[in-house]
């Protein structure tokens, strides 16, 4: 075989994957940074260089800080629904009869295969103030109904619920995988040594031994959650009412494709990206410090 081909061959095999990633992921990143220094509406052939003006404007705008605040809300909400809840569910699945666990795994995972758009439509109906199931159940419990999508406070909850419903299953499975990777001998040994309660098992054995998976899900719950809630927001509230549901991701879309301020949009995108990156870097560092526990 041609010696030169053999040298080039490994790279040739990688190229079909690498090239699209370079062209459509990495290069755009660079371009985004470039655009963030411009004032431009995407069509004019003369973009204006403005240096850090976009960033300054951004940090000075109320709109920006409002979406930051909202983003914070979403982060906390998703930590509960996409980190804590799936973890408890996964742990629960390992504690119940195995006959049911296969069923639970499928049933809890099913919504994940649906699109966020479908989830949005579904929750549009479920949260309808008049005939929606949720308000009906609330009234059965004696609580007043809520105008979910038009209420400035509850609208965030509405879109978050839609996104959480769809994303729950995936995190559930990932956490379950991490849980099942812990050798059964360890929990049996703990049992023999006198460990009775599930919470004890969780705290002393399970959580320390799946800390890697936990941190991964922690970070992705926030990052993926915030990006995903874009769809219900775009479909159902348009960022409203009165910007109540907007977040950083939606802001980028608004600036870019509704107001055509590409520079500002890119600046927002970069800022958001840096925030996410920080989270991810912290995750990597924390995981490095806690050494790998599996042999």
């Amino acid at each position: 075989m041609n010696r030169m081909w053999r040298q080039v061959r490994p790279y040739a095999y990688i190229l079909p994957a690498l090239l699209p990633l370079l062209v459509f992921v990495y290069y755009p990143l660079v371009q985004s940074v470039q655009i963030s220094f411009l004032e431009w509406n995407m069509v004019s052939p003369n973009p204006k260089w403005v240096g850090l003006a976009n960033y300054r404007d951004l940090l000075a705008s109320d709109e920006f800080w409002l979406s930051v605040k909202n983003t914070g809300f979403y982060a906390v909400f998703f930590l509960v629904t996409l980190f804590a809840a799936p973890f408890l569910a996964a742990f629960g699945v390992t504690r119940v009869n195995s006959r049911w666990s296969a069923f639970y795994k499928s049933a809890l995972f099913a919504p994940t295969v649906l699109s966020l758009a479908v989830a949005s439509i579904l929750f549009l109906w479920l949260l309808n103030p008049v005939i929606g199931v949720v308000n009906h159940l609330l009234s059965l419990a004696g609580l007043p109904g809520v105008n979910w999508l038009s209420d400035p406070f509850w609208s965030k909850w509405a879109v978050s619920m839609a996104a959480s419903w769809k994303l729950f299953g995936y995190n559930f499975i990932v956490l379950l995988a991490g849980l099942l990777a812990i050798p059964q001998e360890l929990s049996e040994s703990a049992r023999v040594q006198g460990l009775r309660s599930s919470w004890g098992l969780m705290g002393r054995i399970v959580i320390p031994l799946m800390s890697g998976t936990l941190i991964y899900v922690f970070v992705t719950a926030i990052v993926v959650g915030i990006q995903s809630v874009f769809v219900p927001v775009e479909m159902l509230t348009g960022g409203g009412p009165n910007q109540a549901t907007t977040n950083l991701v939606f802001l980028v879309y608004q600036y870019g494709f509704q107001f055509f301020k590409s520079g500002l949009a890119s600046a927002t995108a970069i800022v958001t990206f840096l925030a996410f990156l920080l989270l991810i870097v912290v995750q990597a560092l924390v995981m490095d410090r806690r050494a790998y526990y599996e042999n």
Partner: protein, 392 residues
């Protein structure tokens, strides 16, 4: 140990789904003894151990420990110490914390915890390792930590599930001795699971041989070895394994399948006839056979013995012992002796064995042992004649 710490299984049955692992087991572990559960994989020995520990519950039957029925109690309520096959050390805790785990759960005072751990660490030579994590330890060290963890729990029952199987062969010999010594300093009721008969013989005060969930025989190592209760136990114990040959009981002799005959003392024959079976299995251990060159017809009359003609095939030199392969008709018999021989292949040889070392088993069903009476000579009696026929 003041109170009795025995374990009693009464008609215990265990199934996993459709599979019956233990049909009905009656077993008694005496207080303070070292009992070994021995058998091939799948024989249920680990299941029995898990039933004792409380990791599994029996489907029916009762398990009593120290006189109390423990059927409903989960493992966390039984106060049993267990050493797992893969040690099950908590990877995220130091050796000290691993050993302290059960004590912390039981709210033992800190000073006492430290004292017990120090004591055990000294005995097991773990003193310098207390702050290390399991992944920094060698296999032998991990095993000792697992032992130490079990010791400090100070429970009356000590369960070990093949704890030596992951050690190198060399370590294993020392570890075996250490375990026996350990038991002498901490005389708890010890149940030990293994598939290795050498381990069983050296460690167990009594051995329970198991097969497919059924107890084949329980007794001291000597009992098991010298008086195996059935063919399975006889063949399982001993390396190289016992020679077993199917024979038919005749009037004056037993016959091999290919027509050869073997004369036996009258007392032996009458025992065989008494049991009623026509087809039986003859068993002789390789070390019970003596190997002579050529045809040897003059045999010592006392004690009564047999002689078998055969053809030499080859020897395996193992250093301390030599194993000879001898063809007798269509059977292959093994003889072990201390000295190598220089026979030529296909030369004629004679095997002799004292009748005390003959075992007979029924050829069907459970292949139970057929009890023999081998009469020893009193000076006045006539020596029984021994006739020789080769199995050719």
């Amino acid at each position: 140990m003041q109170e009795p710490c025995d374990i009693r299984f009464s008609a215990v049955r265990k199934t996993f789904g459709a599979q019956t692992v233990i049909p009905s087991l009656d077993l008694e572990v005496r207080s303070g003894e070292r009992l070994v559960l021995l058998g091939p994989s799948g024989c249920g020995k680990s299941t029995i151990m898990r039933l004792i520990a409380g990791l599994e519950q029996p489907v029916s039957g009762t398990i009593a420990m120290g006189g109390q029925i423990v059927n409903g109690l989960d493992a966390s309520e039984r106060n049993v110490s267990m050493v797992f096959q893969n040690y099950a050390l908590y990877p995220h805790m130091t050796v000290f914390d691993n050993m302290a785990f059960s004590l912390k759960l039981r709210k033992v005072a800190k000073a006492e915890i430290t004292r017990r751990i120090q004591e055990a660490a000294e005995k097991l030579e773990l003193g310098s390792l207390l702050q290390r994590k399991p992944r920094e330890l060698s296999g032998g060290q991990r095993q000792r930590v697992a032992l130490g963890r079990a010791i400090v729990q100070q429970s009356s029952y000590f369960l070990l599930d093949e704890p030596l199987s992951n050690l190198d062969a060399q370590l294993r010999t020392n570890a075996r001795n250490d375990l026996v010594e350990l038991h002498k300093s901490y005389p708890r009721t010890m149940v030990y699971v293994t598939h290795d008969q050498v381990e069983a013989m050296t460690i167990g005060q009594r051995i329970a041989v198991l097969r497919q969930g059924e107890l084949q025989q329980i007794g001291s190592p000597e009992d098991i070895y010298m008086r195996p209760a059935n063919r399975f136990v006889a063949a399982f114990m001993g390396n190289p394994p016992m020679n077993i040959v199917p024979v038919t009981v005749g009037d004056q002799q037993v016959m091999f399948a290919d027509g050869g005959e073997l004369a036996l003392p009258e007392s032996v024959l009458s025992s065989l006839k008494r049991c009623g079976e026509q087809h039986v299995l003859l068993g002789i251990r390789p070390e019970a056979l003596e190997l002579w060159e050529g045809d040897r017809t003059v045999v010592k009359p006392f004690p009564p013995s047999i002689a078998i003609r055969g053809e030499f095939i080859r020897s395996e030199y193992l250093g301390a012992v030599v194993i000879h392969h001898i063809a007798v008709g269509q059977h292959r018999l093994l003889v072990s002796s201390a000295a190598p021989v220089q026979f030529k292949p296909h030369s004629n040889v004679t095997l002799t064995a004292s009748c005390e070392h003959l075992h007979f088993f029924e050829a069907a069903g459970a292949e139970q042992r057929i009890p023999l009476t081998v009469q020893h000579l009193k000076p006045k009696n006539q020596p029984e004649q021994v006739l020789v026929m080769s199995g050719r």
